[in-house]
Subunit: 227 residues, 2 copies
Amino acid sequence: MMQTNNYKNNKKNIPKATIGRLSIYHRCLDLLIETDSGREKDTISSAEISKLTGGISPDQIRRDLAYFGEFGKRGVGYPINELSAILKSILGSSKKWDIIIAGAGNLGKALLRYRGFQKRGFIIKAAFDSDDSKVGNKVNGVKIISANQMEDYIKEHNIRIGIITVPVEFAQEVADHMIAGGIVSILNFAPTTLKYPAYVKLNNIDISIELERLVYFLASRKNIRIK
Amino acid sequence: MMQTNNYKNNKKNIPKATIGRLSIYHRCLDLLIETDSGREKDTISSAEISKLTGGISPDQIRRDLAYFGEFGKRGVGYPINELSAILKSILGSSKKWDIIIAGAGNLGKALLRYRGFQKRGFIIKAAFDSDDSKVGNKVNGVKIISANQMEDYIKEHNIRIGIITVPVEFAQEVADHMIAGGIVSILNFAPTTLKYPAYVKLNNIDISIELERLVYFLASRKNIRIK
DNA sequence: TAGATTGTTAATCGATTAACAATC
DNA sequence: TAGATTGTTAATCGATTAACAATC
């Protein structure tokens, strides 16, 4: 009765990294479906998916899929269209998700114009900024609203997902307002550590940290061995 | 003779995640140094750093630091300024790193204006775009150059780090040119799987995948347990 | 049937956490 | 000295890889 999907997902401990890889499989299959119309088989083996992903092993792929059910046939492979639909369903992108963006600066605007969202079922409902000169403008059809209306907007429209692209010094305050409004999933681009209650899911994307990780390998290429 | 730093770093297997955490410690210490001028002690314990990071355990912090040397005093803690300098050195940001950006679209422009780079020792030398109407313009003081000059520019200026913000369909081609020019570290924002030789280090930042990971938790909040 | 390929068990590898002796 | 806190060893936990029986 509580079960909303027809794949098993409540018995095993699923590694976090698996979810990210499912997105990759989904992306690769969709690309295959779009481009390779002359394909003779309508199934695909884990070995073939492995090649599409360019690095993830067939073992890993079978293991990841097996967490959610038995989608393949032994000796045959996985049905391409069906598997794509299953992944879509697992990842939740068969639903539509309303999101908001806090901060209509350079990064915020870049996200507002990002084409990948709609395809994956994400709909940007509004952007918020404290700069009055921006308020009222539209970017890519999305209205920029005054920051102090954000919390009410979230409540009124029942938004669950927010993206933070404000400067570091406002990030905590913005996160607090989001959570107070009812948002439970946050993607944070501000390079700082935010506090939030345990029931909220928050992922950080910190471009500086990514760059420093890269540079670490450059700096110590010769005298270090990383696992 | 090959040893360029005075901290040990060539004996142990260092988890990849450690490097990302070192960046966080560094950021927290720098913030402390900047803001807390009235602090009485010039040392800090792992427990205190833990609080600043908002979640990383003291055990984890000591373990991470211990991979590189013995920087603290038992019963006392770590010298703040010294530790910050050590982290900076480990992370390579005591050096200056020249970088280029391929793609001067919305995201590329956002990065060109991103203030965090300079502080961490990253200098954007140039941006490249195939759109002639953009070529010659400057964004935040950085010149936009024609894409077909990129490879030569990399060679001439001996650039080692590149950021890809071009659309998916050009990303592989751009990566190939970067690598041909001599770039060995790439941060890729294009949501696709790129091929590259083993000596190149490439990190992906895929906003869709991050959002899908968040949504996965939303979608299955009630009937799944994630490790 | 024989070959292919899954799904899963067992083995390995890697990372984190707990605990505590060392020592400031 | 006694209390604090590191650095490290051992234990645990988590994720990946190898291998193969099941089966299409």
